[in-house]
Point group: C2
Chain length 217, copies 2
DNA sequence: GCAAGGTCTTCTGAATTCATAATTAAGGTT
DNA sequence: AACCTTAATTATGAATTCAGAAGACCTTGC
């Protein structure tokens, strides 16, 4: 995220608003009260409105002419679209990571993988999902493609608020774990094509989608 | 681009700055003179700076703390990364378009395809590239995936300034045309898998990359 | 003559002020 | 009593003002 230091005021404000949205403090579809947030953050409206412009582009809010900003609704259709794109990007990341991953990155992913396995065996889903997430992010970073990393992180941010709410069935869960096993093997073999294929068929996102059928309006 | 009306002042300003960058009026690496652009556009600094925040997240400029904005340099590495991602997104678009394309969209793409062929036969490269571009965009739109469309258009914007400068060799050109032939066939057959495969191997971007070897620092 | 330190100018970052548009409430009319 | 119209209030959009930082230029000392 912060390839350039995010130490600007509008950057800080944007980050905090993202958090508010992710936490649900700002409900989807509700208006974003500029004045209230200003005093809450202790800043004037100028940096806050700059932050809103950025958030609008990132897809967190939508700007209505002369009517301010509303929190984006994140419909089921949007979620589906987002996961489709993320899955495709992960496939590309896998392909590239197979060619470009460093020893250190591989070791890190293996460590995460074993952590994830241990969480799986203990049935700790929250920790499992966290490690899972970190593995996918690490693969994206290992692609060494800055544009890919940026776009992926942005999309990941957008769906952050619905992550970690999924309830996995045991069948899905065990299959996802076995796919992760194959992923690590492909990484060790530096087999980008195989890894890309696994990731493009990896059902993590599909699982999350199905788990989200009820929510998201 | 304008899913919501872009009729805001900062949106207009952003568009005009994008144009200036694409036209080369603002050189890569050079600073963005706020004051000068303000009087040039006849607006105050507030909407202009809001526009710069957006452009920063779009990748057109980078913000240096307390030193304003510089036009992003678009190095060869960045170009390569961008094309990698775009190619992957096009592959996904092809896959989805195969399942979801409407009759009208298909007819439109076929019409563009024949226009493109005619430009090819006449050796009119500029017109060929334009039609080519439109076909790829139309396939992306036919994917019916709004997130994909947004991300793709953004990346397309970024590389706009280096498009249409490529000089294609005859070998590359004829191969690209034959690949386009296969693409239209796959679309007619609603064969998303095939179309995705063709697009992921389509060498248009590679051609452009090679043609851009010398430029972009 | 060259370098180092300081000051001055210019530009960015943020707050405040001003204007305009929208929404809501109140009053009048039907 | 209900609905429409109008006015007032509130919030957004933009300009201006103010403060702080960076860069340039000049002066002075070595």
């Amino acid at each position: 995220m912060d390839k350039i230091r995010q130490n600007t005021l509008h950057g800080e404000v944007a980050e905090r608003i993202r958090d508010l949205i992710a936490q649900g403090a700002l409900a989807p579809g509700s208006r974003v009260p500029e004045k209230q947030l200003c005093e809450q953050f202790g800043v004037s409206r100028t940096p806050l409105r700059e932050a809103l412009k950025v958030l609008a582009y990132e897809g967190f809010v939508e700007l209505l002419p002369n009517r301010g900003a509303r929190v984006a609704k994140l419909t089921k259709a949007t979620l589906k679209s987002t996961f489709e794109v993320m899955q495709s990007l992960e496939a590309l990341a896998g392909e590239l990571a197979g060619q470009r991953i460093t020893e250190a990155e591989l070791a890190n992913i293996e460590a995460l993988h074993y952590q994830m396995l241990s969480h799986y065996k203990r049935g700790n889903m929250q920790e499992y999902l966290l490690a899972n997430q970190q593995i996918h992010e690490a693969i994206v970073v290992a692609s060494q493609n800055d544009v890919l990393i940026d776009v992926y992180k942005n999309l990941n941010h957008r769906v952050r608020r619905v992550r970690f709410t999924a309830e996995l069935s045991n069948d899905y869960w065990s299959q996802a774990v076995s796919e992760h096993e194959s992923m690590v093997e492909a990484l060790r073999a530096r087999d980008g094509a195989a890894l890309g294929g696994i990731l493009s068929r990896h059902l993590r996102n599909k699982v999350e989608m199905s788990a989200l059928e009820e929510m998201a309006e």
